[in-house]
């Protein structure tokens, strides 16, 4: 076991699964880099942020496919390859580019099993970067996991750390349904202990990163780290929090969320995606319907404003939910008194 970055953890997951199963292939723009060029340099990029670096050298051009800049064609090709026996991992680069290939995902890959009477399997993984904080402007910064979560037939993974990323990606590759695997682009250099051996983390099982008595915080992806930082600070003031990392937004571990809210009676949800129809609204609706009697305070959501992600650095850092905003939200529900009691 050794410390590995988020980037290394994902690279290792891909490498180990490609060694284990010859049906696993990679496709995407610049997943290697250099193909079709005249420089003669191979594996020039290994993905725009270097996540797939070195895989071309080990597995060759038959399994690491640099594609033309046409999402509709290679995502469609990957879906077809999955339905006919391969296990492709297609990289969409920035998740924002899903606009170019949504039909292939939403109307094709997600529907195959259902439309073909349960006889089709589509073991397709689509990896993509999401999230603000990279100063990449409005067309390269969205957190679109709610969009995919909305579509039945897709599984959606939002890993929160290097350990989580490796186990969830191996699980995704071995899964027989289409999986959208979303990596927060500012987390690639985060490091932690990651086992060298392959391992899997099951979908639909939330992880409690800490357990407390007063407030439940549900957080997704990068926000899990922020929620834990906020909980550390709050603990010093005697407010103890449970932090839930659902790991997958589809399937969603509703049971764990409801159990924890039943115990604490207070809920804060931290979601980096746009605030309308996002995961925070979804979890809030779940708890309002199923655990209303347990609530001692209104549910609070910590989300960005409903606006495109700003390019200006100062505005962008205001846009992303912060540890301070989470802390303030938790304090407000922890100190809440209903009007009748006040």
């Amino acid at each position: 076991m050794s410390k590995k970055s988020f980037r290394q953890a994902i690279n290792e997951a891909l490498r180990q699964e490609m060694r284990r199963d010859p049906r696993v292939i990679l496709m995407g723009e610049d997943v290697a880099g250099g193909r079709g060029g005249t420089s003669g340099v191979k594996d020039a990029w290994g993905g725009v942020l270097g996540v797939t670096k070195g895989l071309l050298t080990e597995f060759g051009e038959d399994r690491v496919l640099d594609t033309p800049i046409t999402e509709a064609s290679y995502i469609g090709a990957a879906a077809g390859a999955a339905a006919t026996g391969l296990r492709p991992v297609a990289e969409l680069m920035f998740v924002d580019f899903v606009g170019c290939c949504l039909d292939q995902i939403m109307n094709q890959a997600a529907k195959f099993r259902y439309m073909f009477g349960g006889k089709a399997r589509t073991p397709l993984v689509i990896r993509a970067m999401y999230g603000a904080g990279f100063n990449a402007a409005a067309q390269h910064s969205q957190a679109l996991y709610p969009l995919f979560t909305h579509i039945p037939g897709l599984k959606v993974v939002v890993p929160s750390s290097p350990y989580e990323a490796k186990g969830l990606l191996i699980e995704a590759i071995r899964d027989d349904d289409p999986v959208i695997f979303l990596e927060n682009k500012v987390m690639y250099d985060d490091e932690e202990e990651v086992p060298d051996d392959p391992y899997t983390i099951p979908f639909g099982e939330a992880n409690l990163t800490r357990e407390g008595d007063d407030v439940t915080i549900v957080a997704f992806g990068r926000m899990v780290k922020f929620a834990n930082e906020a909980a550390d600070r709050l603990e010093k003031d005697g407010i103890s929090c449970t932090v839930i990392d659902p790991r997958t937004t589809s399937p969603l571990d509703t049971g764990t969320i409801l159990d924890c809210v039943t115990d604490t009676g207070r809920l804060v949800i931290v979601d980096e995606s746009s605030p309308r129809c996002n995961l925070a609204t979804d979890v809030a609706a779940l708890v309002a319907e199923e655990a209303f009697d347990a609530l001692k305070a209104p549910i609070r959501r910590v989300c960005p404003p409903h606006t495109p992600v700003p390019f200006a650095t100062a505005l962008e850092s205001l846009y992303v939910p912060s540890t301070e905003k989470i802390e303030a939200a938790v304090r407000s529900v922890a100190s809440y008194k209903a009007k009748a009691e006040a």
Partner: protein, 374 residues
């Protein structure tokens, strides 16, 4: 003793510990303690353990509050008798803290010894060595079912003072290759025999825990004199009963909620089972091949809910010295396994102790081993 101030500092539990949390004081300020009496519970990322007072005296101060996270060596309390004035204690604390914070590099103690990989046939065995042999005989530590070399974290430092200490992960466990063959003690013993050759160890004092005790007996049977002595801690093979709720639960439970009560079977003091301990087991079980290997071992060794391999004849035939250490409240393998052994076998039963005396009664076990092997 009048006038003496004894600092109580954050202990180093195991090779990897750099900091610890004061989980709770067992003695109130002003309370009298004896040397060796449990004074506080210390929680690390791996384990919570009682900390024994280094000296006799009155606990004049609790410098660390419950919940404080502190580096190894940091001041947590002050022992002194009532003749020492408060001002003197204040001055002592100030001076200690000043010196401690200026010398922070050495505070956490030595780094954990690096593991190394030893190839045994097709298997990669993860080995952690500590101490040096001083011309004497090395100590070989064999953990049990579902465990790994970190089970010895509270024993390695004490044993390493006088011996070369070799801890390793059994096949199918820890960081070793997840291949267990038929999962029988004989097969594991064969691998360990080859591991000893690979490490150029001709002879060793062998300490085996639980299934590792059965493996140690098989090793003694196969290698004879190469096993210089046997220390068997709650070993398998001496009785027939086994708590299958533990074995099956350990294999099947995959969430913290369901696994925690299973892990609690291991110890008498249930508060020793921390979140981190359970989380580490869950992470181990997620590794490819682990659950399959554990199932194979369970099927081979504990078929139909009984221990399959009776090893009393092996113990009786072994010519070297043998000691058996067992917790009286062992919920996995009944302490009755220690009954009716040959008179030459030294048997120690620990009251209020579960299946892992090497963790729960670590200092007593360390003393017993030191007295036994020299």
């Amino acid at each position: 003793m009048s006038g003496t101030i004894t600092p109580v500092t954050m202990p180093k539990f195991g090779l990897a510990m750099t900091e610890g949390k004061l989980a709770g004081w067992s003695v109130r300020p002003g309370g009298t303690v004896k040397a060796g009496q449990e004074i506080a519970d210390i929680e690390t990322s791996k384990i919570t353990n009682g900390y024994e007072s280094p000296a006799e005296g009155i606990l004049r101060r609790q410098v660390a509050a419950e919940g404080d996270m502190l580096p190894v060596g940091a001041l947590i309390g002050i022992l002194a008798d009532e003749s020492v004035p408060d001002a003197e204690i204040d001055a002592f604390i100030a001076k200690f803290n000043e010196e401690f914070s200026s010398g922070e590099d050495s505070a956490a103690g030595e780094a954990e010894p690096q593991r190394k990989v030893v190839e045994v046939g097709n298997l990669k065995i993860s080995v952690q060595e500590s101490g040096s042999d001083h011309g004497g005989i090395p100590v070989l530590l064999i953990h049990g079912f579902g465990g790994d070399l970190t089970n010895w974290m509270l024993n390695q430092p004490a044993l390493a003072e006088k011996h070369r200490v070799i801890a390793f992960d059994l096949p199918g466990h820890g960081e070793s290759t997840k291949e267990v063959g038929d999962g029988s003690p004989v097969t594991f013993a064969e691998t360990i025999g080859k591991l000893m050759s690979g490490l150029e160890v001709d002879r060793a004092h062998v300490i085996g825990h639980s299934l590792g005790g059965a493996i140690a007996l098989e090793l003694a049977k196969a290698k004879g004199d190469a096993v210089a002595s046997l220390t068997l801690i709650a070993p398998a093979g001496l009785g027939t009963d086994i708590n299958m709720a533990f074995i099956d639960g350990y294999i099947e439970a995959d969430r913290r909620k369901t696994l925690e009560p299973v892990v609690q079977y291991l110890v008498h003091d249930k508060s020793l089972v921390t979140r981190a301990m359970v989380e580490n087991i869950i992470r181990f079980k997620r590794l490819d091949g682990v659950v399959k290997g554990l199932k194979t071992i369970a099927e081979t060794c504990f078929h139909d809910g009984k221990q399959v391999f009776p090893l009393r004849p092996v113990l009786e035939a072994y010519k070297g010295p043998v000691q058996v250490l067992w917790g009286e409240d062992d919920e996995i393998l009944s302490v009755s396994g220690a009954d009716g052994l040959p008179a030459s076998v030294t048997v120690t039963r620990y009251p209020a102790t579960g299946h892992m005396p090497q963790l729960e009664k670590s200092s007593e076990v360390n003393k017993a081993v030191a007295a036994f092997i020299g």
